[in-house]
């Protein structure tokens, strides 16, 4: 079936045309999205409609005929340029925001287009049927001339993007700097708008005026998930756009009842979904994994420190006796947000697997020697930061525990060494005494909930 499709000249034309359109839209869309003007294409495509309708009227009145594609495209481009002009005028002459300007230009120009279309329908000589394709698109009906036009548009876009890559990059990232070295961002903006106009007007006939916007926005957003480098983003967006165009065109060629423009957009949207989850630069799954890992690590670290402080407070008791789960749970709350999936028990399981704790008597755990070393370092880190907050930031000893809890997991050894030096301590390795009271729940409290009242303020023991 695919081979049969590949042999069909019409199908090849459509697939090539859609792929070129998708690629060109991807390139332009990347720059537009970075300029935070993702929806300018939307306004332009709507603004092109009255231009196309006027071109049809002019064509009908003169000897060119209403269906001359070049004339219609020229009209569309002029309409889009008028739309850009209206947006720039409104931006300069009023204090309206960009979103209101885009929405106003879009709806009013489209309204004008519909007015003109209804004029055309009312004329005895007019056949407006071909104009509808600009609204919904008719990629499947693409002929070689249309594909050539798309090729010219795509070639122009690629050429300009390559020649002006440095300039466009600076425009997107640091407009002020580009001004300061004597470039004129207005001119560059004009070039970018011209590119948008070209791909929008050329693409409208293939996928329709609403869906051509999708081809500008979606591949660009998807590419952003894969890379932080502009050049890579542009290439990836072009590839995603071209691939969605080709796949969508093939699907609607194989199943002609499926509207091609919509299928192209849905393929692009599927690419975006995959990119949002698995993208190597911004993909959500890497964030989830990193977050899950750090949550797990934090829980173990909290467990170790709790054990250390309990041992320290109970120095009279015989070591190696073990600490009961309930005591740990009563001393420190392992909240759901701190540890997904099981709280205290998961942390204990993990610490046991890492060889940091071992089971003692019934339902108790004991620090191993590795665990004791680790927990001493963790406690030292925590208390150093607490002392630092008390001495340097003037925070009350009763208030430092929580803040140190949050920050202790991300302190680098270099920073800790500096903190220790600044506090006059010889080393960051040994745990200083705790600056505040550590509550040791007695046996009677094991099942009872922890006293919600704050601990009474104490003087600094140092």
């Amino acid at each position: 079936m695919i081979a049969a499709l590949a042999g069909d000249h019409n199908v090849r034309v459509v697939v090539l045309g859609a792929a070129m359109l998708g690629g060109a839209c991807g390139i332009v869309g990347t720059f537009l999205t970075l300029r935070r003007r993702a929806l300018v294409g939307d306004a332009l495509s709507h603004a092109a409609l009255p231009g196309i309708a006027l071109a049809f009227l002019v064509g009908t009145a003169t000897r060119f005929g209403g269906k001359s594609p070049l004339l219609l495209l020229l009209g569309g481009a002029l309409g889009a340029i008028a739309g850009v002009g209206a947006m720039l005028l409104l931006r300069r002459a009023s204090r309206l925001r960009d979103d209101a300007i885009v929405a106003a230009v879009l709806s009013v120009f489209f309204g004008a287009g519909i007015v003109l279309l209804s004029v055309i329908q009312g004329m005895r000589s007019g056949h407006a049927a071909g104009l509808e394709s600009f609204i919904y698109g008719r990629a499947a009906a693409m002929v070689a001339a249309d594909a050539w036009m798309l090729a010219i548009a795509a070639g122009t876009v690629v050429l300009v993007a390559v020649l002006l890559s440095k300039e466009l990059r600076l425009l997107c990232f640091d407009e002020e700097f580009s001004k300061s070295i004597g470039w004129r961002p207005g001119v560059l903006d004009g070039v970018l708008m011209a590119l948008v106009t070209i791909v929008t007007v050329a693409g409208m006939q293939a996928v329709g005026l609403i869906l051509v916007v999708a081809l500008q926005v979606i591949p660009a957003a998807a590419a952003r998930c894969w890379s932080d480098r502009l050049s890579h983003c542009v290439a990836i967006a072009a590839a995603i756009g071209a691939a969605s165009g080709a796949v969508g065109a093939v699907v609607s060629a194989a199943a002609p009842a499926w509207p091609s423009g919509a299928v192209i957009v849905l393929v692009a949207a599927a690419c975006l979904l995959v990119s949002l989850v698995f993208g190597s630069a911004r993909g959500a799954c890497w964030r989830w994994i990193a977050h899950w890992r750090s949550t797990r690590r934090v829980a173990v670290e909290h467990l170790l420190r709790t054990l250390y402080e309990l041992e320290e407070a109970a120095s009279t008791e015989a070591p190696g006796e073990g600490v009961a789960y309930a005591t740990i749970a009563a001393t420190r709350r392992f909240r759901g947000g701190e540890l997904r999936g099981g709280g205290l028990h998961a942390a204990i399981r993990r610490a046991r697997r890492l060889g940091l704790v071992r089971s003692g008597a019934a339902d108790t755990i004991v620090l191993t020697s590795a665990g004791r070393l680790e927990s001493e370092q963790l406690t030292a880190r925590h208390r150093l930061w607490e002392h630092y907050l008390i001495e340097r930031a003037g925070i009350a000893p009763t208030h430092v525990d929580r803040s140190a809890d949050l920050v202790e997991h991300v302190l680098s050894p270099e920073l800790l060494a500096r903190v220790a030096r600044s506090l006059g301590a010889a080393t960051a390795a040994a745990a200083p005494s705790s600056p505040h009271q550590i509550e040791r729940p007695d046996a009677s409290m094991r099942s009872a909930p922890r006293d919600p009242r704050p601990a009474p303020p104490r003087d600094d023991p140092r």
Partner: protein, 334 residues
């Protein structure tokens, strides 16, 4: 598009039973849209109106496919649900997907629109569910679909839009303070315990319901125009929120009346039949905005122009300021 007639001079150009109702429907639509529209413009969410009005297509198609009928209640519910979904997805894409705001709007509504097109073409092909009908609406046909209310035939669209207008007014009057504070200062609202997120959801629901109710009769493009354009003009004319909503409603209503009359009369001057009223109303609202912007701009410029022509140094202080300062200097000398 649907009732384009060739000019027929033998008929009166205005008929109260048709054009009167069309204008009433258009005014109701304009007033209902101006209320959420004002808040959208203030919160820089104007494009949400555009997005919602395009994105409801799959909701309508789903309701149609599920019920296999063109009953309006399921379609209304489906469209409103997808409208709210659009707002949620946009927000989700912006915060979780870290996509820039206007890009996330563009992604969501175009994808939903494409989905809707596929659903309609694949599922509802054999029936008269035309995407064109959703896009342009058929305000000229509204007087033909009437409901008897105590002996008077009232167009169904008028009843629907009047109830939406009433609901919007009620919502805004009950939650005026909350909506206003959330619009201008979401953080302040949060600190007062007002939950601006809830207000955002309410605004999105209001927009979705209004857009759906309106475009059933007047088409989605007119909805966008009536949501944003009068509100934008009103924002330029006043600095008070209450006045802004009122002015937006008035400008929208004016656009409705002028637009429909122009749709009938202006083409007749060239010997042509009437044009699409909904689109003409959109154009007239744009003209109103252009006039407001131009008038304000000229008002600002006039000071400069007069100064340049009248005063001796081209960019010196205004004559009054100079007189005052010279008087002050004279007083000091005395």
């Amino acid at each position: 598009m649907n009732t384009t007639l060739l000019a027929d001079t033998s008929l009166p150009w205005w008929s109260w039973s048709l054009d009167g109702w069309i204008v009433v429907v258009a005014i109701l639509c304009a007033s209902a849209c101006a209320i959420p529209g004002s808040f959208l413009v203030l919160r820089r969410l104007s494009l949400m109106g555009d997005a919602i009005s395009h994105a409801v297509l799959p909701g309508i198609a789903a309701a149609f496919l599920l019920t296999q009928s063109r009953a309006s209640v399921p379609m209304f519910l489906g469209a409103a649900a997808v409208g709210v979904l659009t707002a949620l997805l946009t927000e989700w894409l912006r915060t979780r997907g870290r996509v820039e705001e206007s890009a996330s709007i563009g992604i969501v509504f175009t994808t939903l629109f494409a989905l809707g097109l596929v659903m309609i073409v694949r599922g509802a092909d054999r029936v008269d569910l035309d995407p064109g009908c959703v896009l342009y609406g058929a305000i000229e046909l509204t007087p033909l679909d009437t409901v008897e209310v105590s002996g008077i035939a009232i167009p169904r669209a008028a009843i629907v839009l009047a109830s939406v207008l009433a609901a919007n007014l009620l919502c805004v009057m009950l939650l005026w303070k909350e909506l206003a504070l959330s619009a201008f200062d979401p953080d302040g609202a949060k600190s007062q315990g007002l939950r601006p997120g809830l207000m955002h959801a309410l605004l999105m629901t209001m927009t979705a319901v209004t857009a759906v109710a309106a475009f059933e009769s007047v088409g989605s493009i007119l909805v966008v125009a009536l949501l944003v354009v009068p509100a934008a003009a009103a924002k330029l004319l006043t600095h008070r929120l209450g006045a802004m909503v009122a002015v937006a409603m008035a400008l929208g209503a004016a656009a409705a009346v002028i637009g429909h009359v122009a749709a009938i009369r202006v083409p007749a001057l060239f010997g042509m039949g009437s044009v699409n009223s909904a689109a003409a109303i959109a154009v007239v609202s744009g003209v109103i905005l252009a006039v407001v912007v131009a008038a304000l701009w000229l008002g600002r410029q006039r000071g400069n122009v007069a100064q340049r022509v009248l005063s001796e140094p081209p960019r010196g202080p205004s004559p009054e300021v100079r007189r005052e300062s010279s008087e002050a200097a004279g007083a000091a000398a005395r």
